[in-house]
C-alpha cells in the first residue's frame, strides 16, 4: 500500500509538466473488503484468487493502479497505452496491458481503433476498475463477477451522430480475449474467447441514456479439469463391462464437458436517468452457451442521491441460473459406487456442470464522499442471500458444498485520479 502512495505522490506533479502532444494520467484505488462468512470468501470476480473469509480483512482485491499515456500523432490520429494492476494472479506485461491501440478519427462521426481496447460486454465492463468513475464502492458481482475478461485484442468502429437533441453512438467490435478463472483453491484455468463479434448501441441525452449490448464468441480451448473428467468417463466406459447400462448415454455427458468451439453470448440492456439531485441506474444481462453451462440471467437497480460533495446510494442485485440436476443423467449410482474412484468422478462431474450455477441476491447501501474533485472515499455494506448450491461467485473450500447462507460484506476504499 505504501508503494501505491509513493508512486502516486511522485507521478502527480508530472501530470502538469508534460509535452503538448503527450498526455499522462492515471487512476487508482486503495481499499479493504471484509466478509463475515466461514464458508464463502468474497471475491470481486471469478478471476480472483484472494477473498475475505470470516471477517478477515482482504487488502488485495480492491487495490488498483492504472497509468495511461495518450500521444497525439496527428490531428486525426493518436496512440493510447494503459497499464493496470488489479491484483492479477500473474503480473506480466501482457496481463497488465489494458489499452494499447492506434486510433484514426476520420471525422466527428467515424472513428476506428486497432490494437488492445477495453472489452465492452456490459454497461460498466469497460471501466469497472476505474472506481473513481462510478459512485459505488464495488460493481454488483451478480452481473460483473462472472466476467473476468478485461480487454479485446482486435479493433472497433464507432459511429456517432445527432438526432435532434439525442446522441446515437454505435460500435462494432471484433477480436479475442483471455482471462484466468479460479475454479477451485488449487486450480486456476485460462480461457480464451476467440471470434468475438459484438455491437453496442447507446442512445442518450445528458439526462438519460439507454444502452444495448450483444456479443458472441467461441471458447478457444478446453478446460483441463473438464478434459480430465471426460477422460475418466471414457476410461470407465472402456474398462467396465456393461457400462452403458450403469451410465446411459455417457457420450452426451462427455460432449457437455467439452468447451472448445462452444459459442458463448453476452447481452445487456442498461439505462441511466439523472433528475436534479437523483440518479437511477439499472441493467439486465444474460450470459448463455449451448451446452457447457446454463443461461445466467442477472440484473441490478440502483438509486443515488447526490449532495454537494457526497452521494448516498442503494443497490439491489440478483442473479438466477438453472441448476443442472445430475440425476437426470440416469446414472445407476448404487452400482457406480462399487467401481473404485467412479463415485468421486461422478461427484466431480456434478461440481463441474454446476460451476456457474449462480443464485443469489444482494441489497447494498453505501456512501461516497468526494474529499477533493479527484479523490473519493467510499463505504458500502452488502447483505447477500446465497441459495443452496448457488454460491459459485464466492471462494469456497471445495466448491462442492455450497449451503444456503446470508453473508455481510463491508467495503471501504479510497479512489483517485490524476
Amino acid at each position: 500500500m505504501k508503494i501505491f502512495l509513493l508512486i502516486w505522490l511522485i507521478l502527480t506533479p508530472l501530470v502538469n509538466a508534460q509535452p503538448k502532444d503527450l498526455h499522462f494520467s492515471g487512476f487508482g484505488t486503495l481499499g479493504v473488503i471484509s466478509s463475515d462468512s466461514k464458508e464463502y470468501g468474497y471475491r470481486t470476480d471469478l478471476g480472483q484468487r484472494d477473498g475475505s473469509f470470516n471477517n478477515t480483512p482482504d487488502y488485495e482485491s480492491s487495490n488498483v493502479l492504472g497509468l495511461q499515456l495518450d500521444y497525439a500523432l496527428h490531428p486525426n490520429a493518436d496512440l493510447v497505452f494503459q497499464s493496470v494492476y488489479h491484483n492479477q494472479n500473474t503480473v506480466t506485461l501482457d496481463s497488465t496491458t489494458r489499452l494499447a491501440f492506434a486510433r484514426f478519427t476520420a471525422n466527428p462521426t467515424w472513428s476506428f481503433r486497432l490494437g488492445r481496447t477495453p472489452l465492452d460486454l456490459f454497461l460498466l465492463t469497460e471501466y469497472r476498475d476505474v472506481s473513481f468513475g462510478y459512485i459505488w464502492a464495488n460493481t454488483p458481482i451478480e452481473v460483473y463477477g462472472l466476467v473476468p475478461y478485461r480487454y479485446l485484442d482486435g479493433g472497433d468502429i464507432t459511429h456517432s451522430t445527432h438526432i435532434n437533441h439525442l446522441t446515437l453512438r454505435s460500435k462494432l467490435f471484433s477480436g479475442t480475449s483471455t482471462s484466468d478463472f479460479v475454479a477451485s483453491p488449487q486450480r486456476t484455468e485460462s480461457f480464451k474467447l476467440a471470434d468475438i463479434v459484438g455491437v453496442t448501441i447507446n442512445l442518450e441525452t445528458f439526462r438519460w441514456s439507454l444502452q444495448l449490448r450483444y456479443s458472441t464468441s467461441r471458447f478457444a480451448n478446453e478446460s483441463p479439469s473438464a478434459t480430465q473428467l471426460a477422460s475418466g468417463i471414457t476410461a470407465l466406459a472402456q474398462s467396465v463391462p456393461g457400462f452403458d447400462s450403469i451410465w446411459p448415454n455417457s457420450d452426451e455427458t462427455i460432449t457437455k464437458l467439452k468447451s472448445k468451439g462452444e459459442v458463448v453470448y453476452y447481452s445487456s440492456l442498461g439505462a441511466k436517468y439523472n433528475w436534479q439531485q437523483w440518479s437511477a441506474l439499472a441493467e439486465v444481462s444474460k450470459i448463455g452457451a449451448k451446452r457447457s453451462f446454463s443461461t445466467v440471467t442477472a440484473g441490478y437497480a440502483s438509486l443515488i442521491f447526490h449532495g454537494q460533495s457526497f452521494s448516498l446510494y442503494s443497490i439491489y442485485a440478483a442473479t438466477q441460473t438453472d441448476f443442472v440436476d445430475i440425476d437426470t443423467l440416469g446414472v445407476d449410482v448404487a452400482t457406480l459406487a462399487s467401481i473404485p474412484e467412479a463415485l468421486e468422478l461422478y461427484n466431480a462431474l456434478d461440481v463441474s456442470l454446476n460451476l456457474y450455477a449462480i443464485n443469489q441476491s444482494t441489497w447494498s447501501v453505501g456512501w461516497r464522499w468526494n474529499l477533493t474533485p479527484s479523490i473519493a472515499l467510499k463505504c458500502q455494506w452488502d447483505r447477500t442471500r446465497i441459495k443452496e448450491q448457488g454460491g459459485g461467485l464466492w471462494l469456497n473450500k471445495d466448491f462442492a458444498t455450497q449451503p444456503k447462507e446470508t453473508v455481510n460484506t463491508l467495503f471501504t476504499n479510497l479512489s483517485f485520479i490524476f
Binding site: G66, P108, V130, F206, G307, S309, T372, P373, S374
Partner: protein, 145 residues
C-alpha cells in the same frame, strides 16, 4: 480535541453544501472570430465539453480547451452547464478517458493562456468571463442567458 472539532466543522460545511461560487459570473463560451459558428445550443455545448460529440454545428471537428485544476471559473462553468460538481464531472471524464473513448481535451493553466491559445486557433472552443473578451474571439453561447 481541537483537531476533531475542526475536522467535524469541515465535514459539516461540506455536507451543508456551502457554495462559495454562488456569486454570479458572466461566463461565455467563445470561438475564434474566423470560426463560421455564430450560435450554439446548451446541448451542443454539453456534447462538446463532455466528450460526447466533439464537433461544431456544421460538422467540423472541434477542439475544446479547458482549464486545469479546481479554478473557480471552471467550477462555476460546469455547475451551470451540467448541474454537477467538479468531482462528478471528473468522475464522468474518468469513464470517458480511461476507456479510451475520446482524446483528452486540451488543458491550459489559466484564462490568459486560454485566450492566447484561442486567438490563433480557429477550431478551438473555450469558456471565459465576458469582460475578458478580445477582438479575436466571439461569443457562441452565454451561460446566464
Amino acid at each position: 480535541m481541537a483537531r476533531l472539532k475542526i475536522t467535524l466543522l469541515v465535514i459539516l460545511l461540506q455536507l451543508l453544501a456551502i457554495d462559495g461560487l454562488a456569486a454570479e459570473q458572466d461566463l461565455v463560451v467563445v470561438v475564434n472570430i474566423n470560426n463560421p459558428t455564430s450560435k450554439m445550443s446548451k446541448s451542443q455545448v454539453i456534447d462538446l465539453f463532455m466528450g460526447r460529440y466533439i464537433a461544431f454545428p456544421n460538422g467540423e471537428k472541434a477542439t475544446p480547451i479547458d482549464l486545469i485544476d479546481e479554478q473557480d471559473i471552471k467550477i462555476f462553468f460546469y455547475q451551470n452547464l451540467v448541474g454537477m460538481s467538479l468531482a462528478r464531472v471528473n468522475a464522468y471524464w474518468s469513464r470517458v478517458k480511461f476507456t479510451g473513448r475520446v482524446k483528452p481535451s486540451v488543458k491550459v493553466p489559466s484564462e490568459t493562456e486560454l485566450i492566447q491559445h484561442m486567438n490563433s486557433s480557429p477550431l478551438s472552443i473555450g469558456y471565459m468571463e465576458r469582460r475578458n473578451l478580445t477582438k479575436h474571439l466571439k461569443v457562441v453561447y452565454a451561460l446566464n442567458e
